[in-house]
Amino acid sequence: MTNAMIIPARRRRLRSATSEPTLVKWLLIGLCLAVLTVLLFAPLIAVFDEALRRGWAFALASLSEPDAQAAIRLTVLVAAITVPLNATFGIAAAWAITKFDWRGKAWVITMIDLPFSVSPVVAGLLFVLMFGANSALGVWLVANGFPVVFAVPGIVLATLFITFPFVARELIPMMLEQGRAEEEAALTLGASGWRVFMTVTLPNIRWALLYGVLLCNARAMGEFGAVAVVSGKIRGQTTTMPLMIEMFYNEYLSVAAFTMAGVLALLAFVTLTLKSALEWRYADQLAATHRH
């Protein structure tokens, strides 16, 4: 049926070899939009609709509750600790992997990907096993007044683990593509290793780095599974925003739950907008370093 309609159309009109028949084109675009609407736009609108069901004032009031405030602060704190650390680790790993040759490199690349392939729940349990009351290390830590699981350090560790690959994974392909020629040129001109890194490597990778950091940040704020396992769910103490959303929802406080969900979604929006704005503003530079 569809073929029968397409073939005569092709004979009648000359069409550029790179484009599709109009019908197919619109069908595909329509399908894509329909899927996006069902999977992305509609749920997103539903979140905000539910949050504002009883008006702005009510939604904002739910955010000013002490537990909600504590959850927001904890989430920002966790992101503020994990993102800079993972940015540093990510740069170090990417630099070592792309600019130097050494044995065991392939193995390290695999290890960097590990957090992507391990289920977050497993990651969380891993920390409970390591630092929980049933391990010698855990007992020693608690005895010395530094509990890890069911406390903030555990949440930071779990988030660190989950978000580890984001920066490195973003940098490695680009740095491989850029090659080592510029660094080698700098070295022949007598620059020290540090200077090469600061004046040649870092300026070349900063956009990919920023992108990696934004992604890492979004995940650090949104991580649920691993954090749920190590959190202990103490209200106002070890409850991050995603955990708080579930709690509110379970307590029939759906406005509070969806308002907080909306805040998380808005953070993601800000992240994406920031990235798009930067890409648009610095398009020429991006073209100059030609990646992304």
Binding site: P66, F131, V142, R206, K233, I234, R235, G236, N250
Partner: protein
Amino acid sequence: MSLYQTLAARLKRLTLVPAPVYAEQPSRRLRFWPMMATGALAIGVTLAPAPQAQAQGLTLLNVSYDPTRELYREYNAWFADWWEAQGNPRPTIQTSHGGSGAQARAVIDGLAAHVVTLALAGDIDAIATRTDLIAEDWQSRLPQNASPYTSTIVFLVREGNPQNIQDWDDLVRDGVEVITPNPKTSGGARWNYLAAWAYAEANGLDPQEFVGQIYRNVPVLDTAARGSTTTFVQRGLGDVLLAWENEAYLALAELGEDQFDIVVPSVSVLAEPPVALVPGNVTDDNLHALATAYLEQLYSPEAQAMALRHYYRAWDTSAADPEDVARFPEVNRLTIQHFGGWAEAQPLHFGDGGIFDQIYQE
């Protein structure tokens, strides 16, 4: 005055000087780092006003199960006032809620609970046997089997009871969808299971077969009671929810009495959600006094009235609203002793490879 003028003049000059059409590369390059710095500053500002809400008083952690959220929110506020009125510094009381079994597991793994208020004695027994935190005889240390309030299992059905569900045998009918959480992780679910078991026994049916048929009608097994309630009430799944009586009444109160009906089956259970001190985590004498008082005051007339208001069946009705007391219908309630006590029932039914595992593998 002059400062203002200089500023104004500068501003004017700034606007008058035409911007270079092609900005030089280096000047643009520099902007990347100020931008990052601004980002870091923004994070710093967000974190800075964090008021360190450190109360001078002690901090008590109550690790509880799912449906007690509303009860303990009220009780904690009342108890903090009461403790302060006794001439003590005001305490900070923290709570953690989840599936009863999962919460016990967390305490075993090191969640530093000072008191546990769980759904069933079996979960506190698990802490007592697997760790040194709680003594084995914990249940004899407080009145009424250490259970300040009790509950039972009822059915919550949709308004008008369209599937005409009256008793346990209606749950095995074809096409009836039953919502109940996973007995492995949820205390309430274990009571649901045992009540169904008791019904089969009383009516000359094969209990394992009967309970198995019920679970074949369960489309989703949530991990905790509250999860099941939301599945049934907010997501609209299933025809009947096997629920704690207090959860069922709470759902009615929160979401409207015109949406659901409560059905009381012919046989149910006397669910005793017990409370216990966790001496292993209470190292300080003052904290010990606070935690002990916290549990003992659960038996005070005020707290008992509170429990009744939150749809628990409490013992002392002297301070309660008569309406809260009159609400509960008479139910034939079997105790855990009918099943040989938790020490026997837990491994037999819910242990690894126990009857529930056998049923669920079919």
